[in-house]
Symmetry: C2
DNA sequence: ATCTTTGATTTAAACGTTTAAACTACCATT
DNA sequence: AATGGTAGTTTAAACGTTTAAATCAAAGAT
């Protein structure tokens, strides 16, 4: 079913049908009714490819994600898609599958670049109106993406890039969380940071330190540890932190997986959470729901980040925005029962 | 950068450039080199929209998912995308967001239909070559999707539909799991099924019963329970099953969330897993990694289901397949330490 | 010397839209 | 009666490809 066929069935020209469809010109009530009737009857759907070709805009945006199987990715995609749908845009998804690659190939960096190039090939080929990159981008990535002459938004985390970006606040969130612990009377802290090279780890740790410094609290060197974000290393670190009589009264784990490890370590050492030691996490991961007492943690505005990214992108597409915009969204404190009031 | 521009830069006709690009006709080495050089220099990328319009195939497939934030969905999408990419296809994703809708709206059925229609509008409008529906489809959905004149593959679960489908084996998997328990000497079973109305619950339960029947084992009515797939109800059901002196020696939970609930219930009742009671789950969910002892469970071939769905779809697109094909993939047993050998 | 064949290239139509420009009635002013 | 304006409609070009058909030149066969 094409415009032409509709037109001939209605006994009018293709232009008229197009005008009816988009109401972009005056059409008499009579012909409008006639045409609309036929459109409904035939179930005609306009060919978006042809439309996009002619209009020189595709109403398509490309979404590149580092790994779709990392759970937070789905929520961001969900947010992106919701706005896209509402605004009449569609998305094509490209999955870099970074997780497997980093694990299995030593030369992942070069593959990485090749994969992005490939993704860009199809996206630019599809004439996307813009691109959202979901993940941790560094200068290299923003350089690659900067080369295409389309609006780009970086969503999730970023180092120092060019381009518009949407992220959540790591530093401030942990800062506030730590303040909360201090207000509750805690003075002896243990910290389990994430991977040293990781940007969020650095940011979160900064927030932690800032709160300590402001309160004039210093930490024992031995109470500063880090893990690989995973349960096991969190538990191991916690065993060290808690395995002495003068252990900290509060342990700040930089994500929930490790926080759960802390709780299990505590139990195995015969310590009660929160009575003997307080614990906080980060992420509001699924696992949180299974452990009791509920670990106090923090929820990232994942869906909202999707919303904002898409909105920002569309501003760029419409040429509305000037220059780069960076949005940092706050996280929400999810209060559990893992923090004891000491005062 | 268009074909025309490349052509004029190379001093040849657009046809020649097109032939070089797709090598679909004889071109002299000399001109080929010349054209390729310019293509490389300019970084030309062909306009897929125009190509698709002309060729009357889009190399696009639509993927409709019931809810992208349900964790298994991401793995299926990953599989779909991997094959798509390898075959030169792209995917556009439509998320029905069913989870929120079912919770918040009583008239979700009609919205559901409208949402699918909307998704189809854009997909058909984009001239997708085919569609993969990821989720539990019923006759209603296959009726809607059957109306479009494109190949469709249903992935995940299905009742009795028309159309090709890919799913994992529920019945046989639980059958084998139960056989394993029987071989290990278990005779007194408790079962925690999923939601009664749910198809996978029914299938899994069938598999369970079949193994029991074959072994001539009968169950006490009171040991047959069900929950809503969630931790809490699993735990509650387990409390009932285990709260008596002659409790079952093995509890088959129809998913991991509930199996974890069983373990916690056991612990609270002072029972040891697996010494006092054996437990099995289903899904190999993330949570499994956090509980010890490791719960014996089963992994669904999610990514593989994505692969197969895409392959099946492309067969349909290429007109290779005749009639509907149904593929049922086996699950893999993940042996933990939650099952005791009684013999 | 003429006719075929072959290989390399170009011409031009087609895909399904949008849209500026042209056209046609019809009516209202002068 | 000529002019102008307006509402409704059509014409035709354009978007960037692909591809059947046409063209052309050079080589081979008679």
């Amino acid at each position: 079913m094409t415009l032409k066929e509709i037109a001939s069935m209605a006994g009018v020209s293709v232009a008229t049908v197009s005008y009816v469809l988009n109401n972009t010109a005056q059409v008499s009530d009579e012909t409008r009714k006639k045409v609309e009737k036929i459109i409904k009857e035939t179930g005609y759907r306009s060919n978006i490819l042809a439309k996009s070709l002619r209009r020189n805009e595709s109403f398509l945006v490309g979404v590149i994600v580092e790994d779709v199987t990392v759970w937070h990715t789905a929520y961001i995609i969900d947010g992106i898609n919701e706005i896209a749908e509402a605004r009449g845009y569609n998305t094509i998804l490209s999955n870099l599958r970074l997780l497997n690659k980093i694990e299995s190939q030593f030369d992942h960096i070069s593959n990485y670049q090749r994969d992005i190039d490939k993704a860009l090939d199809v996206m630019v080929g599809m004439q996307v109106d813009g691109i959202i990159y979901v993940g941790m981008h560094d200068r290299k990535i923003s350089h690659i993406l900067g080369n295409i002459k389309k609006p780009v938004v970086y969503c999730y985390c970023y180092t120092d890039g060019e381009g518009s970006s949407v992220r959540y606040s790591n530093e401030k969130t942990v800062y506030q969380m730590t303040q909360m612990l201090i207000e509750n009377g805690h003075r002896e802290f243990g910290v389990i940071n994430g991977l040293k090279e990781s940007e969020p780890a650095a940011l979160r740790y900064n927030g932690f330190l800032k709160a300590l410094n402001e309160a004039g609290i210093t930490m024992k060197e031995e109470n500063i540890t880090c893990g690989n974000w995973k349960y096991r290393e969190g538990k191991e670190a916690a065993k060290k932190l808690l395995g002495k009589s003068d252990h900290p009264t509060a342990i700040v784990a930089m994500n929930d997986d490790m926080a759960v490890g802390v709780c299990d370590a505590a139990r195995e050492l015969g310590l009660k959470v929160p009575d003997d030691v307080s614990v906080t996490g980060f992420d509001n991961a699924d696992i949180i729901q299974y452990v009791s007492p509920r670990i106090t943690t923090v929820e990232r505005p994942l869906q909202e980040m999707g919303y904002r990214s898409m909105e920002l992108l569309l501003e760029g597409v419409r040429g509305a925005s000037v220059g780069d915009v960076s949005i940092t969204l706050p996280c929400a404190l999810i209060e559990g029962e893992s923090v004891k009031k000491l005062n």
